[in-house]
């Protein structure tokens, strides 16, 4: 059994392992960063860190939603990066039996651009489990983004003679 945070986007319920979530916050907008990918709402300061806010609706290709009192950001940590995910609402932390995760049907994987890696039936509900590294990974970059390549130690490699 593993704790998961459950949140909703456009009526569907998603889950992330609790250990990849730092905290949840209410949200009243971010500072726009010109030149960032369109699914990045901007930046917020949480715990002294400047973190990007990824709007999951836009990330999933859904229409943007207005801010309301339910809107939350979920602060996630993955591979030493801290990124906030903007969701419609987040209210629940529940224990899930990982053995009951089922592989996502291919149509779901397709529709979610591969961001959903498994599903978890829970009574009448169906939770979609997100692949966080993939969601935030570099490979998922829009061509529109003018982001520079990440400093991944290429400096060290380039130092080798030749």
């Amino acid at each position: 059994m593993k704790l998961h945070v459950v949140f909703s986007i456009a009526g569907a319920e998603y889950a992330l392992p609790f250990d990849s979530v730092l905290q949840m916050e209410s949200y009243d907008g971010a500072t726009l960063v010109p030149g960032a990918p369109d699914y990045v709402d901007g930046i917020v300061t949480v715990r002294g860190l400047v973190v990007p806010v990824v709007d999951l609706r836009t990330r999933f290709g859904l229409p943007r939603a207005e801010l309301n009192l339910d809107t939350r950001i979920i602060l996630t940590e993955s591979r030493a990066r801290v990124v906030a995910l903007r969701v419609d609402s987040a209210r629940e932390v529940i224990k899930l039996d990982i053995d009951k995760h089922q592989p996502a049907p291919s149509v779901v994987i397709e529709r979610s651009s591969g961001f959903v890696h498994a599903v978890h039936p829970l009574g009448k509900r169906l939770l979609l489990l997100l692949d966080l590294p993939k969601l935030l990974g570099e490979d998922s970059h829009d061509s529109k983004s003018r982001a520079l390549p990440e400093d991944d130690g290429s400096l060290d490699r380039a130092q080798l003679p030749g």
Partner: protein, 696 residues
């Protein structure tokens, strides 16, 4: 004695290090005790304790703190035997060892107060001796085996002589190495501390003896350290690893033992030096030395950042009080004091974070030594460090870039010895690196070689561009991403490998400057200018289409008023790039961009900029029109690291007190990305990825 600086630094380090090892010894002894109470052994803790005491003994011998040597030596011996016999200690022994550690602590504390270290009590020594073995008498006369001046031999303790004799008997080589500290060597990273550290990796240091020598160019401080070593390494391995000249190593084993009169040993010939050592020790001990993890300093800086943000809020609150008619004169006075105090506090924290530039340079001689060997070049490295200091975090970022430039210089710029001779150059190439403060905010580093220089025409031709008009254009060309690749470098010896990475670090990341000056056949000089510190800067805040931004004051050349009637709009490009305007400033044409336009902030309505911020990129001014200026203040810059947020012109974020991040703009980088990063040119750049930056 002019060598005191080196010795002083050395004793300061001794006190710090000794304290660290004492802490380890205490902790480990207690671990042994608690393990044994539960009926277990803890051989790892025994070995850790042994290592700490061994190090303390070595360090103490080097500064001549004999009482500590005597105590540590006995404890070390006993622990070595304990380790060999399974690691069990009787409780009595643990008590004695803890007493021994306490006795050393007392002596180290005395030294740091400026007092002499008292001789250990006979009772303690006897207690330690009774634990295991004392020192065994040496069977053979050391003088028959060791080739060492009587004066030095007299300084060696019996157990050290014994250690040497045993080592020699076991087939090890006994050597002496000499090192004279000098300011010049210190800038090359050669201090007795670094020598000792490196030496420990290739040899056992039996003893380090300081001795007074006549002042000479070789020993400007009149001070020389003799390191007595046992090793199985070759001379070459040792000199290479340590960075000493070959000639400074000498065997101390008599090849053909001849009988020598035993009684030559004169005690305390060097009492003059012993006396001199008290001077620096005295001065030092009054200043405590603390080693601090950088992250703790970051915490302090973080706390200060929070204070500054609170101050912004306070300022705002007072301003709104004042607007509503409240008399805020006294509050404003307090605010002024508060500002001054924050500035002082900030300066104090920044000072703690500063490291000498020599720390940056001291790792280079070893690098160059290795490169010479790998590339068959002969290179003379000249380092000029000076007394400048820079922030640890800047230093850490600059170093890889520096390594890069040094590698390129040795690898590609400096010719092979044969080729140099053919070109009437000295066989040995010269690589000169200087570091010095430029004003109070910047550090200038130059890396010059007397190699083949950059062939501009060839580079331009291969890059498919016009000949670079000047050095600025040449640098732009060299920094085209991927300009030179492995294949190119090995076949044509081009330079430019990874220059874009150097530029990214120095210019984009640190907000510094990079310049190149090269003359064909004569050599190349790279000049780097980096800020001494980062993170808190004086900045202008302004507003553009309802969003606030800040820009560091140092980037801004001028803030000018603009009027819609003042500027001429150039025909718009059809590729969606921002429209360029031309305004007239003091009779000269000045290109101007609407920031709102560049950032796509406005929603189609007519622009009504009132102010423009003028920055200068590579000598040419360019203006960015904004709505209004808000003020000037010190801001704490938080880096924006996430890959999702890397956008040209955005260098960080700050908090102006409204609880929301405000973007810190790098308008210089922004203008660079606009004038160079247009889609057409980007294509051109990627098409030349296989080309060398520099052809012979």
């Amino acid at each position: 004695m002019t060598g005191t600086a080196d010795l002083k630094e050395f004793i300061a380090a001794y006190l710090v290090e000794a304290e660290e090892h004492l802490t380890v010894a205490n902790t480990q002894l207690l671990a042994i005790e608690s393990a044994q109470r539960s009926g277990e052994t803890n051989p790892r803790a025994v070995r850790e304790t042994f290592r700490s005491l061994h190090t303390i003994k070595g360090l103490s011998a080097m500064v001549g703190v004999e009482p500590v040597v005597a105590i540590a030596h006995r404890m070390e011996n006993f622990l070595r035997d304990t380790d060999r016999s399974g690691g069990t200690l009787p409780q009595l022994a643990i008590d004695a060892l803890l007493r021994g550690v306490r006795a050393i602590e007392q002596r180290v504390a005395a030294l740091s107060r400026g007092d002499a270290a008292a001789a250990p009590s006979e009772e303690l020594l006897a207690a330690l001796d009774s634990l295991g073995l004392g020192t065994k008498p040496v069977a053979r006369s050391p003088v028959a085996v060791l080739e060492l001046e009587p004066a030095l031999l007299a300084k060696l303790a019996p157990f050290e002589v014994e250690q040497l004799l045993r080592g020699i008997a076991a087939g090890q080589r006994a050597l002496r190495a000499e090192f004279s500290p000098s300011p010049e060597r210190a800038t090359q990273g050669l201090t007795i501390n670094s020598i000792r550290e490196r030496m420990a990796k290739v040899a056992d240091i039996v003893r380090v003896l300081p001795r007074a020598v006549p002042m000479s160019p070789e020993a400007p401080g009149g001070l020389c350290f003799v390191l007595i070593l046992l090793t199985r390494s070759t001379d070459d391995t040792i000199t290479d690893a340590v960075g000493l000249n070959r000639g400074s190593l000498q065997s101390i084993v008599r090849t053909a033992p001849e009988p020598v009169a035993d009684a030559e040993v004169a005690p305390n010939v060097e009492s003059a030096l012993d006396g001199a050592e008290d001077g620096p020790l005295d001065a030092l001990s009054r200043r405590g030395v603390v080693r601090v993890d950088v992250s703790r300093l970051d915490d302090a800086m973080e706390g200060l950042s929070a204070l500054i943000v609170t101050r912004f809020r306070l300022t705002r609150a007072i301003a709104s009080l004042s607007e509503s008619g409240v008399n805020t004169r006294e509050l404003t006075e307090i605010l002024k004091d508060n500002a001054r105090q924050l500035r002082d506090l900030r300066a104090a924290i920044v000072r703690v974070r500063m490291v000498p530039v020599s720390e940056l340079l001291e790792r280079l001689p070893l690098l160059v030594r290795g490169l010479q060997r790998a590339t068959h070049r002969l290179v003379r490295l000249e380092l000029e460090g000076g007394n400048a200091e820079l922030d640890k975090s800047v230093s850490e970022r600059v170093f890889p870039a520096l390594v890069h430039l040094v590698r390129n210089a040795v690898d590609h710029a400096i010719e092979t010895p044969d080729e140099r001779l053919r070109r009437n150059k000295p066989e040995e190439g010269l690589l000169r690196i200087t570091c010095g403060a430029r004003g109070s905010t910047r550090l200038e580093i130059t890396v010059s070689d007397d190699g083949r220089g950059i062939d501009r025409a060839a580079v331009a031709k291969k890059a498919g561009r016009a000949d670079p008009a000047g050095d600025t254009d040449l640098l732009d060309l060299l920094c085209i991403p991927g300009l030179s690749t492995r294949e190119v470098v090995t076949t044509t010896s081009g330079r430019g490998m990874g220059m874009e990475i150097v530029k990214r670090t120095i210019v984009d990341e640190l907000g510094g400057e990079l310049e190149v000056h090269s003359q064909l056949g004569q050599g190349t000089t790279f000049t780097l200018r980096v800020p001494l510190t980062i993170s808190i800067v004086d900045a202008f805040s302004f507003e553009c289409e309802g969003q606030r931004f800040v820009v560091p004051v140092t980037m801004v050349e001028e803030i000018i008023e603009v009027d819609a009637s003042d500027f001429v709009q150039l025909p718009a490009n059809d590729d969606g790039s921002p429209t360029l305007n031309i305004i007239s400033r003091r009779g000269a044409a000045l290109p101007m961009l609407q920031l709102a336009h560049v950032f796509k902030l406005q929603s189609g309505k007519e622009l009504s900029a009132r102010k423009a911020i003028v920055v200068r990129r590579a000598g040419a001014p360019i203006a960015f029109a904004v709505d209004r200026m808000l003020g000037q203040q010190e801001v704490v810059i938080r880096p924006i690291n996430d890959v999702l947020l890397r956008a040209p012109g955005v260098s960080g974020a700050t908090d102006l007190g409204d609880g929301r991040p405000t973007l810190v703009l790098d308008l210089v980088a922004l203008s660079a990305s606009l004038t160079r990063g247009t889609p057409g040119e980007a294509k051109a750049a990627s098409a030349v990825t296989q080309l060398p930056a520099r052809m012979r």
